[in-house]
Subunit: 298 residues, 2 copies
């Protein structure tokens, strides 16, 4: 068996098939046709010398082999995307694409006004904003800049500590008017608490410092935006970033002395990107803007 090297396009097709779950769906996603992708998969199988799919009328069932290949194909996709971003303009130009990743709360509540202001200064820079609580891989260049809540361990990354975002218990005035205001930690047991559903590793580290556990919650969700929306809707009492609550006159900070945590915040980018003017500009701007946010000016 003389197994030639497969063309790289086959990997792109393969990744689409794995992601979409069927030849037809992948064809739609890629703007190609189903027979074409079918031929691609067959060719990939013969050239790699490995069975990738079990064919069936209800779709393709990926073999274990196929699953093992996915991370590498994704690495190729990430590199391809990074290449296109770099090619979007010369390094020294204030123009082109910058990809940014952060948590859902930060991306939905904190960054938008900052990015709006940045865009007024640099209208030539296109911003891609990826919200995801499991951080994308900067080393693999899934993004150019990341706002992280943990100090990054890797060398080859430029990391700058922004500060600690204060967290606090908050409720809407309408809720407090109906159910009263808790004056002690013990009072909280009588209230509708909003909290997490499954324990994440990040939470587990904090658990000993939290005055309540999963069983105490009247609304359990791991989506931070849903928690925030529930607080705003007057569902009950929950934790959110103090600077966000401070912008809303209807939200009240409860028991500030009894409950106080800080979210350590870092701005991170890949070392190589220091040479890129547009990435550097956004990075420096975010250092300043997030610094002000943490400090309480924003």
């Amino acid at each position: 068996m003389t197994t030639n090297e497969p063309g790289w396009d086959l990997y792109r097709s393969f990744l689409a098939v794995m992601r979409e779950g069927s030849l037809s769906a992948a064809a739609r996603a890629l703007g190609m046709t189903q027979p074409s992708l079918g031929r691609h998969m067959r060719q990939l199988e013969t050239e790699l010398g490995v069975a990738l799919f079990a064919r069936s009328p209800q779709g393709l069932a990926p073999t274990e082999n196929a699953h093992e290949l996915v991370p590498h194909a994704q690495a190729m996709a990430a590199a391809s995307a990074a290449l296109r971003r770099v090619a979007s303009a010369s390094n020294h130009e204030i123009r082109g694409v910058v990809r940014l990743t952060c948590s859902e709360v930060v991306g939905a509540e904190v960054l938008p006004p900052m990015l709006a202001a940045f865009r007024r200064q640099h209208p030539g820079i296109v911003i891609e904003l990826s919200l995801s609580n499991q951080s994308e891989d900067l080393l693999r260049k899934d993004a150019d800049i990341a706002v992280r809540m943990l100090r990054p361990a890797q060398t080859a990354l430029v990391a700058r500590r922004i500060g600690g975002i204060p967290l606090g218990l908050h409720a809407h005035r309408s809720y407090l008017k109906t159910y009263g205001r808790p004056l002690t930690v013990a009072d909280l047991q009588q209230h509708a608490l909003i909290g997490f559903d499954r324990e994440t590793p990040a939470l587990r580290a904090l658990r000993s410092r939290l005055p309540f556990s999963r069983e105490d919650f009247a609304l359990r969700t791991d989506n931070d935006l849903a928690q925030l929306a529930a607080i705003r809707a007057g569902f009950g009492i929950g934790v959110c970033q103090c600077p966000i609550a401070r912008r809303d006159r209807e939200l009240v900070h409860l028991l500030p002395d009894a409950f106080a945590l800080e979210l350590d915040t870092w701005l991170v980018m890949h070392e190589d990107l220091r040479a890129s003017r547009r990435v550097r500009l956004l990075y420096d701007y975010l250092v300043q803007a997030l610094g002000a946010y943490v400090g309480g000016q924003a």
Copy 2:
């Protein structure tokens, strides 16, 4: 300008053109033809919206833009190669390809007998051995296993300390017979010393502990294999790994008390590969074999 996403095959062609320096050379390397690659490059330029080459009758001159894209294209190539290695056999099979990288001396002098023994045990495993003094990037999966002389900083890498390989001053008996044997460090000044040419960062860290500098050397080369060959040829006195010299009865260890350094040695692999049977087998075998080598049994 509506710049479609370029097919990934174009990146493969681009990388070949950048590596080979001309369309024709790249065509030869890829088993394609020059007009085809020419069209690829033109298409890539239009689809990325960036000028990549300045055409001339004596070849293509890459623009600055083109150079910036190379690392990303290389990342794609590395991922593609890693994918093919994974596909070379199922994870649980004792069969397939494993890629190994190490320094030139280790690859040429230390590993070959070990790999020969390993192959007798596992004839189904194909080994790719890449000798390079600037270590390939394990995170980018340029290789599966690396023998390194520095503790790797990255998490996501499995690193195991093998031990310290003792270094010592050595000379061939034929040299000593002619020029005499140095009995003190001061005597060395009268001898033909073999040493480095340009200072590498690794050397600079050691410099304060070395009893000589660049100007003292009668033969200067940064190629460790050439140094070793010069010692064996009776050119003069140089530094080499004691276990290597010990195998050759004609090589004499000089001034063992005055000059003693150790090369810290690590065996490293990517975390993901712990699940791969063949990689794990070679890793475990090398831990044992290199351990014995450092300990002096080999």
